[in-house]
């Protein structure tokens, strides 16, 4: 396969973006959808082709395009080049595969929305930047993709920009990400200062060859972590992701669950050489990951908005991936990234299907008993719920256990503690996911008009009006949904089914030896993360620590997951209302509930501690003093003095011919005087 075909992979979605972005307004909806789908299907097929090619070669391989000089300034040059190794291949597969499915889903989901063409143009633009991000072979091009996906995310979060909350959420995401990007930029500057290049290969070879001062590498790694924390919604920059749910649901699935938010994990994995030489930074990554996982899971337990539960769940799962990277188990992190992309995209899409069925309802308190009415959604979502909860033998079980196992065997009391945190989070995960599942699909219907008895005759009546109000807050407060609950169209259920199958089977590529598998994904990623010399035997940690320990750990976490399910069943099925009673039981539980319900007041703390002081400083110092005082003041002085000069000079231009003539004569007289007496000693 010609490596230069790699250029096509990101370029095709970009072409789709240009087509839909420029002509889309005039094209009919089916044409817009066809363009968007074709230009995402084509890269997916190319990636499949690429996958087959790299598989057929057998040996570990890095495929690179010719590099084109991009920026060249004195002694420093950056190339425009793509390269593919096994890590990139997995990312490409996830991005194009899940991306295409979500495009397909969007065709049905967005069918009655305004700005159809705008939506698909943005979506294709996102695909373009995401593919640039994973394909780039240097930091700068990665940063271009990094910023580009941020832009696409901003545009899509604010898709319903008529709504203040959506516009604000878009801004919040963009600004919080800027903080992370600041770290990323500083890291790049340090790299340039030290290595005079941003090429991955060159830098990593240098780092691997010469042990630099740890402090320097640690600084770079920590700055990169700041960038990753912004993009991948980790403490302390996770606050934008829950608000990003203001965007259309397929966007939440694609950008804010499956692909973009994993860019931080990808970046850390890509820079694993650097992180391996900065153990302190790795420890920070592990701690951030574990804490984020726990914190987000606890918040997720009390949310009522179905999408927000999933958003916090995403943050929590990203925390797991961070934790994996933090203990150097990059392939476990990437494995979880992949399975998470499957089941979380599925969960979001299924949630979208539920919302679609209920005509815009997102509050789980108003759902219930939907199991029989939207069976396809129910069954596929169940696959997702069981997968994320870590039930054997679904995908989430294998990837999560791989991470927990790797943390456990990393050694040291700190990592045992982190393992406990991870285990606790696993329990919480299955609790909040099954809470969602029970509240949505089981029990009594909670909205007037949604009752099963009404459903049959109203079923046929649903129409365009259902969608018109979707995701506007209007339907949340006002009138009961007049149309019956209905299953989504095939364009939406097909991706659900595919992702459901993937959520079940996706983990089977990583079944560990201890459980009778081959751990193929670890083997597949080995050339990237632990390159070995030819002839050397591959080394797997589990060979040493023994399979028994891994089996035991897997059993424990399965037990914990089941405990989570049991508690969810107890609180939301057996005794509905028990959860509310528990929250009001005594002051302590009430306080705890309040704490979680208000998301630890983190938003408020940021608002009071950072945003308001910053605004105050901006208003008083920057706006009041610098802008009004200095900038505007000097501009005013300039303007006024020009005005004064103008007043003076304007006298001369009287409009009177004879005065002009007089000035002319005076000037001529002056010239004559100078010519005549120019050499006179008096004038010198």
């Amino acid at each position: 396969m010609n490596p230069n075909l790699l250029w096509l992979i990101p370029t095709l979605p970009f072409a789709g973006f240009l087509l839909n972005g420029t002509l889309g307004r005039r094209l009919p909806r089916p044409a817009v959808a066809t363009i968007a789908l074709l230009f995402t299907l084509a890269p997916a097929l190319l990636v499949a082709e690429l996958w087959g090619f790299m598989k057929s070669v057998g040996a570990p391989l890095t495929l690179s395009t010719a590099s084109h000089p991009w920026i060249a300034v004195s002694g420093l040059s950056f190339d425009f080049a793509f390269s593919v190794d096994h890590l990139t291949l997995i990312m490409l597969g996830v991005v194009t595969g899940v991306g295409f499915l979500i495009h397909l889903y969007s065709v049905g989901y967005m069918a009655h929305e305004e700005g159809y063409w705008r939506y698909f143009a943005y979506l294709n633009l996102f695909m373009f930047f995401m593919l640039v991000l994973v394909l780039s072979s240097n930091f700068l091009l990665l940063f271009v993709g990094w910023e580009g996906v941020g832009l696409a995310s901003y545009l899509l979060i604010g898709f319903y920009f008529q709504k203040d909350s959506a516009a604000n959420a878009g801004k919040k995401a963009f600004i919080v990400n800027r903080i992370g990007d600041f770290g990323f930029l500083l890291a790049m500057f340090l790299l340039i200062a030290h290595y005079n290049t941003l090429d991955f290969g060159t830098i990593f070879t240098h780092i691997a060859a010469a042990h630099l001062s740890g402090g320097f590498l640690t600084a770079i790694a920590l700055l990169l972590v700041l960038g990753a924390a912004g993009k991948s919604a980790q403490i302390p920059l996770y606050v934008w992701l829950p608000d990003a749910m203001e965007g259309p649901t397929p966007v939440s699935a694609l950008i804010h669950a499956a692909t973009m938010v994993t860019a931080g994990i990808y970046m850390v994995a890509r820079c694993h050489v650097l992180f391996d030489h900065a153990p302190a930074a790795l420890t920070v990554v592990a701690i951030i990951g574990a804490l984020t996982a726990l914190l987000a899971a606890t918040i997720g337990m009390v949310q009522h908005d179905i999408k927000r539960v999933l958003a916090y769940s995403t943050i929590s799962q990203l925390g797991y991936m961070f934790l994996a990277c933090g203990v150097g188990a990059y392939s476990a992190g990437i494995f979880h990234l992949m399975t998470h992309a499957f089941f979380k995209a599925l969960l979001f899409l299924a949630a979208g299907s539920v919302i679609h069925a209920l005509g815009g309802e997102q509050d789980m308190r108003k759902m219930g008993g939907l199991r029989t009415q939207i069976p396809i959604t129910f069954w596929t979502m169940s696959a997702g719920v069981f997968a994320i909860a870590g039930i054997y033998p679904l995908s989430g079980f294998f990837s999560k256990d791989e991470i927990l196992f790797q943390v456990f065997i990393h050694g040291g009391a700190l990592y045992i503690l982190l393992w406990l945190v991870g285990l606790l989070t696993a329990g919480l995960t299955s609790f909040y996911m099954f809470r969602l599942w029970f509240k949505t699909f089981f029990g009594e219907p909670h909205t007037a008009g949604h009752g099963p008895s009404h459903a049959p005759d109203l079923h046929a009546a649903h129409g365009a009006a259902v969608h018109a109000q979707r995701e506007t807050k209007l339907t949340m407060v006002a009138e009961p949904e007049p149309h019956g609950v209905h299953e989504s169209p095939p364009s939406m259920t097909f991706p659900l089914i595919v992702l459901g199958v993937l959520s079940v089977t996706g983990g089977w590529v990583g079944i560990p030896f201890a459980l009778g598998g081959q751990n193929e994904i670890e083997h597949f990623l080995r050339p990237v993360f632990h390159p070995i010399a030819p002839g050397q035997l591959e080394f797997y940690p589990e060979f040493v620590s023994g399979g028994g320990k891994e089996q035991l750990l897997a059993f424990v976490s399965l037990l914990v997951a089941c405990a989570g399910i049991y508690f969810a069943w107890l609180l939301y099925v057996r005794k509905p209302g028990e959860a509310t009673r528990l929250a009001e039981l005594n002051p302590t539980t009430h306080m705890a509930y309040k704490l979680l319900d208000h998301k630890y007041w983190v938003d408020e703390i940021y608002q009071r501690g950072i945003v308001l002081p910053l605004l105050a400083v901006s208003r008083v110092l920057l706006n009041g003093l610098v802008d009004t005082g200095i900038v505007q003041g000097s501009a005013w002085v300039l303007g006024e003095s020009a005005g004064g000069l103008n007043w003076l000079v304007r006298r001369v231009q009287s409009g009177n011919i004879r005065s002009y003539a007089g000035w002319l004569a005076l000037g001529a007289a002056c010239v004559i005087v100078i010519v005549l007496f120019g050499h006179h000693p008096l004038l010198h």
Binding site: G655, R658, A665
Partner: protein
């Protein structure tokens, strides 16, 4: 033979009269005439120098000046007539439409 200085002084006097008339007269036709006076003062110096240095160039240049002056007079008078039709005056102080 008359010294050249006489011619030059006469030309200078004529020129200054022209400038003064240009500056102080209000009637646009008089102003036009003062311009002609200045041009002819210059012509006089040309001819004087041509005679002095036995050069034909100066005399030829005078013809050019005369041609230009005639053309200018034709255009100028046309403008003056057009102006008079609009404004019913020949006073330049009242011809300041562009300014106000």
């Amino acid at each position: 033979m008359v010294p050249i200085a006489y011619y030059l002084v006469l030309a200078a006097v004529l020129f200054c009269i022209g400038v003064a008339a240009f500056l102080f007269k209000r009637n646009i036709i008089t102003i036009f005439m003062s311009i002609e006076l200045m041009l002819n003062a210059v012509n006089l110096t040309f001819v004087a120098f041509a005679h002095q240095w036995h050069q034909i160039n100066g005399q030829i240049f005078v013809f050019f000046v005369m041609v230009v002056a005639a053309a200018e007079a034709a255009v100028g008078l046309a403008i003056i007539i057009a102006l008079f039709r609009v404004r019913q005056t020949l006073n330049v102080d009242q011809v300041n439409l562009l300014k106000n």
